[in-house]
Amino acid sequence: MFGWLVYRDLILAWRRRADVLATVFFFIIVTSLFPLGIGPERELLRSIAPGVVWVAALLASMLSLGRIFGNDYQDGTLEQLVLTPQPTYLVVLAKVLAHWIVSEIPLVVIAPVLGLQFGLSQNTLLTVMISLLLGTPVLSVIGSIGAALTLGLRAANVLVALLVLPLYIPVLIFGSGAVQATVTGTSPQAWLLLLAATLIVSLVFAPWATSAALKISVE
C-alpha cells in the first residue's frame, strides 16, 4: 500500500512534468535575481550565498505544497485514502515521500550549479547539498500540515505561506548556518547534526498532525 501510493504519485507527477519543472525554474530564477538586485561584487555574493540558496529553496518547496493533496482532494481520492483501513499516518508519509522525490530532489541536484554562480568553493557546495538533503524532507513533512489544513479554502496558497513559513525558520537557520560555517572555514558538523535531529523529530510527529488535519478537512 505504501509503495503503491508512492509509485502512483510518481507516475502522476511524471505525466505532469511541466509542474515539476516550473518549481525548479522558480528556484533558479529567484537565486539569479539576488545578484541582479545586489550587484556583482564577488565577496558580497559569496557571503550572502548560503542565505539566498536556502531562502529560495524554502520558497520553491512552499510553492509546490499545494500538489501534495490538492488533486486528490478535488477528485475525491483523498477521501477514499483516509477511509482505508491503513493508518492515515502511512498515507501521509507516502505522499510526503513522493512529494520530496518529485519536488525537492531536483532542487538538491540543481543547487550546486547555482552555488557556482555565487563563487562558492567545492567544499561548500558539498555542504550545500548535504544540508539540503537533510533539510528538504523537513520542509515537505512540515509543509504537509499546512497543505492539509488549507485544503479547499479560498486563497489557500497565500494562507499556506502564512502558516508554514514561520515553522520553517529553524530549518532555514540550521541549513544556512551549516553552509555559512563552511564558508568561514569552520566545521558544519554541529549544524548538520541539528538538522538531522530536526528531521527525525519532524518525521515522527508531523505526519500525525497532518493526518489529524486531513481528517478535519475531508469530513
Binding site: 500540515i145 486563497a155 502564512l162 514561520p166 515553522l167 525558520i169 529553524p170 548556518g177
Partner: protein, 245 residues
Amino acid sequence: MSNRKINWYKYAAPANFYPLAGKMIPLFAVPSAILFILGMYVGFFVAPTDFQQGESYRILFIHVPAAWVGMFLYVMMAIYAGIGWAFNARLASMMAQAISTTGAIFTFISLVTGSLWGRPAWGVWWVWDARLTSTLILMFLYIGFISLQSSIDDVRRADRAGAVLALVGVINVPIIYFSVQWWNSLHQGATISKNSFKMAPSMATAMFLLLGACWLYSIAVVLARVRYIIREREQEAPWMAEAVA
C-alpha cells in the same frame, strides 16, 4: 463537607457561561484599571531615573508585561484550542478564538514598545537578536492562527484546524526560540531571574503592578470578546432571545 457544590460543567455550556461572563467582566476590569493607575504612578513618579538609560527605560514597565502576557496567552490559546478539539467543547474553542486577538495585540505592543526603547538604548530601531526575532515569529504564528480561522467558513472546521495549528505552533515555539538564540544574540542578559534581582525595588514594583494590570485586562477583554463570539455563533439558539431581551 459543604453541601453546596458548584457544578463546573454547567458553565461549559455557552447558555450558562454567557451571563456569568457578563458578571465577571467588572470583577477583572475594575482591579485592572486600579492596578494600571497605581503602576503608572509608581513607574513615572516613584521609580528613580536609571543611571545608564535615563528616563527612556520607563518604557520597559509596559514592554516587559506586554511581552510576558503575549507569550503566555499563546500557550493558553493552544490549551483552550486543544481542549475544544479533544472534548468537542464549543466554549473552549470560542475562548481560543477570543484569546488569539488579545495575544496578538499584546505581542504587537511589546514589539512596538521594544523598538521605541531600542532607539535611545541601542541607537537603532531594530536589532536582529534572539528575543526580538522570536517575538516577531510569535506574532507571525498568531497571524497564521487568526487568518486560518477567519478563512474557514464552517465554524467547527475552523476551530479544529486552528487547534492543530496552535498545538503544532506550541511544540515549535521552543525549537524556534533556541534556534534563533544560537543564530545570534546581542541582547542584554535576562534581568529578572531567580538568583539575581538586578532592579531597584520601586522599578520592580511598577513592573509587577503593570503585569497584574495587563493580566486582569486580558481576562476582562477575553471574556467580553467571548461574549460577542457566543452571540455571533449562537444567534439561532432559543436562550439567546431571552438573554438579549
